[in-house]
């Protein structure tokens, strides 16, 4: 896979065309020199690289419209990009494309606390929303580990999750509406501040579409009131088997924790090497938040603790203050980066399994690791069965990368054969496109493509992503009878 995207050279765009983009966004917001384009060759999946033809950084919806129209007439594929923190190559350029960076569109347009609504531009950083809302007692629920830098536009593209999605849902549950620029430059509004807009749920189609439908220029978010209280609990276990059983007992007891995260020994060791000695030397850790009203939480926190002990917990730790709680969560969220201490390279997987099968699947994964002669660390969202196996390797060792890749692929297949999914929150992008056929039939993929083609019939946006093999839209069959209101000019695209 890596080879297919890497090291392609492309003919530079004509000076005239570049000048026309510069006219729209200003020369300083057009990047076309080869040495400067290097920074845009990949997202947070660095082993896949491809140089874009041009990077354009518009400041407004109107600039996006003009840029898209020009790219359309010039026949350039368009790849939208937020902060570039994606882990599946969703914002990886395609050869010679226009990379449309939305990081300059970072206005918070308005906040309606009483109705729990907020409108933002796509470049607004996820965590900045919650920071802005915190003084009023509100926050934005989806919390990917990259929340400090990832953008809302990117979250919409990937239907991002995060640790606290078990109780509060994913990006799709918190995006009520969006403004979208289509390939021909027309602007459509999907959903909105009011629930249940008539017609097909195109908002639902957009969230998670990985930049293949258009460019999002505005998002209407649902914002949440802080729960009255949150209790954090860190439980240590001899192994992931006991920790997995604890998760099952807690869920079966009727408790819906805001988050339950699991780390295995290798992941804990990595975190300890960065965060220090407060992290225990044990076989597995569960880090859990229960939240809600005080009355509810006093019960659920107590009950969850009992169940951890019943499942064989060695020790329970409850943070005494906010700083200690933050440190626990920082440890969890730094786990990926901490892996750098254990291994020069690693592959992250994002498969999902039914949570009742966690213990079995983890055993299978360690068997696979042994078979391929690589190490696999596990740090994941246990409550919803979203695994993040980190397959460690050293690219300087001959064939190790290949073995890691093979092991990683078998882990994905294991998730699918266990009744799960190839990706829970990172998206398919280019990285997992090859595995789509493991999960979906040709008919399923064809049907999904209909959805995509309804927005972008010429596949101008992010071509080559999501589907295992490139797909065009083809002509539509049949003929269309226009609605009377369309004939009379009352409606049209946009």
């Amino acid at each position: 896979m890596a080879a297919s995207a890497a090291s392609r050279s492309t003919a530079p765009l004509s000076r005239e065309l570049v000048a026309r983009f510069q006219d729209i966004v200003g020369a300083e917001n057009c990047i076309f020199e080869a040495d400067q384009l290097v920074a845009y060759e990949c997202d947070a999946l660095p082993h896949l690289r491809c140089r874009p033809g041009l990077v354009v950084l518009p400041k407004s919806r109107d600039e996006v419209v003009q840029v898209v129209k020009l790219a359309y007439s010039a026949g350039l594929p368009i790849v939208p990009r937020g902060s570039g923190t994606g882990l599946s190559g969703g914002a990886l350029p395609v050869e010679g494309c226009l990379l449309l960076g939305l990081s300059r569109m970072r206005r918070i347009i308005d906040i309606d606390l009483d109705n729990q609504r907020m409108r933002v531009e796509p470049g607004v950083v996820n965590l900045d929303i919650s920071k802005r809302l915190a003084p009023d007692g509100y926050y934005y629920a989806p919390d990917p580990s990259s929340a400090q830098i990832c953008s809302i536009g990117g979250n919409v593209a990937e239907n991002s999750g995060g640790a606290h999605c078990l109780k509060y849902g994913f990006t799709t549950h918190h995006v009520l509406g969006a403004e979208l620029v289509l390939a021909d430059g027309s602007v459509v509004t999907l959903g909105g501040a009011v629930l249940d807009a008539p017609g097909y749920d195109l908002r639902g189609a957009l969230v998670g579409s990985e930049g293949t439908l258009g460019v999002v220029t505005q998002v209407t978010l649902r914002i949440c009131r802080f729960p009255e209280t949150t209790r954090t609990l860190l439980a240590t276990f001899p192994s992931t088997t006991e920790a997995g059983n604890a998760v099952s007992l807690i869920i079966a007891s009727g408790i819906l924790p805001a988050a339950i995260e699991m780390m295995d020994k290798m992941a804990i060791d990595a975190v300890r090497s960065v965060m220090g000695g407060a992290w225990p030397e044990v076989g597995a850790v569960l880090l859990m938040d229960v939240d809600g009203t005080l009355g509810e939480v006093e019960h659920t926190a107590e009950r969850a603790s009992e169940l951890c002990l019943q499942a064989g917990a060695i020790e329970l730790r409850r943070p005494t203050d906010a700083a200690e709680r933050d440190a626990m969560w920082r440890g969890r969220k730094s786990a990926f980066t901490a892996m750098g201490r254990l291994s020069p390279n690693y592959i992250v997987q994002d498969g999902v399994i039914p949570r009742s099968q966690i213990a079995r699947v983890l055993r299978e994964i360690s068997r696979l690791a042994e078979h391929w002669g690589v190490r696999v660390a596990n740090v994941f969202h246990a409550g919803d069965g979203n695994l993040h196996p980190l397959v460690l390797y050293d690219a300087s060792v001959p064939e190790e990368a290949e073995r890691a890749e093979r092991c990683s692929g078998e882990i994905v297949r294991l998730c699918v054969s266990s009744g799960g999914s190839i990706t829970g929150e990172h998206g398919v992008g280019l990285d997992k496109a090859a595995y789509m056929g493991e999960m979906f039939s040709e008919t399923d993929l064809e049907t999904m493509n209909w959805l995509r083609c309804s927005f972008d019939p010429e596949t101008r946006f992010n071509p080559g992503k999501v589907f295992p093999t490139p797909r065009l839209c083809g002509d539509r069959a049949g003929h269309y009878v226009p609605h009377p209101t369309e004939v009379s000019g009352q409606i049209g695209r946009g």
Partner: protein, 412 residues
């Protein structure tokens, strides 16, 4: 093919007064696929009926050759209680699913009316929900996967069987609320939740519209997390407000006094906690504007817009016999019901309410209406902003326009 009737069609083989000459009751996914493939060869226009409880939604189809009943698709395909996920065929009723889930201490967080007849497929097709949407979302939010029999008879699956999954385009979202216009929903995969240990209903009365809004905001400020907040408008233009707290017994019992002390919940008298029977009766009454009467419309707005919504619909309530109005206070969704005495007057009131709602960014949609009203009032109103994309979508899924033709938004 399981034809259950040929000509003359039974009255039940019709949708909104549009009869079909043929009716089918496929009993398996394979039978559905075969039926749709044969219908494609014959270019039959198809209507789909689940429990028949939401047949008033949308406009009458422009014509039907056959109706497909899903009621024999009632198998539970897979249920893993430990994963809180269930896969069922589309014709299973909500009531039966809830009974099964209850045995495992679980439920589907969708308390839509007509539980004994409404089917899961039908609920997905109309984007169903009840008062508990305030906590669990609507069925679209709990729909993890869908199996769709396409117009060409091919079977397509979207989504998955796990609560977290972003692989591929979100077909379930697009199918939810599509009113049988994209394909036959044959199987659905749903996320279940644990049954709360205790449910407590609190009632207050004598609030005006802005008082209802203030009460909703006070509940939120107090960080109480009600699973339902519904206001019923009485004949005196005052609202009764029902608030439901659900969860572990200890939590509900400790939250109850805080709720009862909120000054914003004080109407004519302090709020009261209802005994189980009175609570059941309150929630049943709150469902009636969604189940009774020949005219039923819903108004979608913002939660704080209740005073405006009340103004928009006052002429409509006045024009209806036995007009009622209920409001899902945290969601901004209202339901108006009654029997139109003078249809012309009702249509005029509907038109003015709809334009006011649309002007304010909301919508007014028909859930049921007598034919005299339908003749003059479109169920959906003006096609939405992104209609061109919707039209493309319909065209790709149903290029010959054979599924529920003309029933959905903008004549799709």
């Amino acid at each position: 093919m399981n034809a259950i009737s040929s000509s003359p069609p039974s009255s039940r083989a019709s949708i909104l007064g549009v009869p079909a000459a043929e009716a089918y009751e496929p009993a398996s996914l394979d039978a559905c696929a075969e039926l749709f493939a044969r219908a494609a060869e014959r270019k039959l226009r198809l209507g789909i009926i689940g429990g028949g409880s939401a047949l008033g939604v949308g406009n009458p189809p422009t014509g039907l050759d056959a109706v497909v009943f899903t009621r024999k698709l009632e198998r539970v395909v897979e249920y893993a209680p430990e994963d809180q996920v269930i896969v069922v065929e589309a014709g299973l009723t909500l009531g039966r699913l809830q009974a099964l889930a209850r045995q495992n201490g679980q439920w589907l967080g969708v308390d839509a009316p007509h539980a004994s007849s409404a089917t899961l497929g039908g609920l997905v097709a109309v984007g169903g929900f009840g008062p508990r949407r305030a906590r669990y979302g609507a069925i679209r939010d709990l729909l993890l996967g869908v199996t769709l029999v396409r117009t060409d008879g091919a079977v397509a699956r979207g989504g998955g069987k796990v609560v977290k999954n972003v692989a591929g385009f979100d077909l379930p979202k697009v199918v939810a609320g599509s009113l049988g216009s994209l394909g036959l929903i044959a199987e659905v995969t749903l996320r279940l939740h644990p049954l709360p240990e205790l449910s407590a209903t609190f009632r207050t009365a004598g609030l005006d519209a802005s008082g209802v809004v203030q009460a909703m905001l006070a509940l939120r400020r107090a960080q109480l997390e009600p699973s339902s907040v519904v206001a019923l408008r009485g004949a005196n233009a005052r609202f009764e407000l029902g608030v439901r707290l659900e969860g572990f017994r200890q939590g509900v019992e400790r939250d109850a006094p805080r709720l009862l002390e909120l000054p914003e919940l004080r109407g004519d008298s302090p709020p009261e906690r209802l005994a189980d029977e009175a609570a059941a009766s309150f929630w049943q009454r709150s469902d009636t504007p969604r189940t009774n009467c020949s005219l039923r419309v819903r108004v979608n707005a913002l939660p704080t817009q209740l005073p405006e919504v009340e103004r928009w619909i006052e002429p409509l309530l006045a024009a209806l016999e036995g007009g009622r109005f209920i409001w899902y206070a945290t969601l901004g969704i209202g339901f108006v019901a009654g029997d139109p005495g003078a249809p012309h007057q009702v249509v005029a009131a509907l038109n003015s309410a709809r334009s006011a709602a649309a002007w304010a960014g909301g919508a007014l949609l028909v859930d049921a209406a007598p034919s005299a009203v339908r003749a003059e009032f479109d169920a959906w109103g003006a096609p939405p902003n992104a209609f061109a994309v919707m039209r493309e979508l319909k065209q790709r899924f149903d290029p010959e326009g054979r599924l529920n033709p003309g029933r959905f938004v903008g004549g799709l």
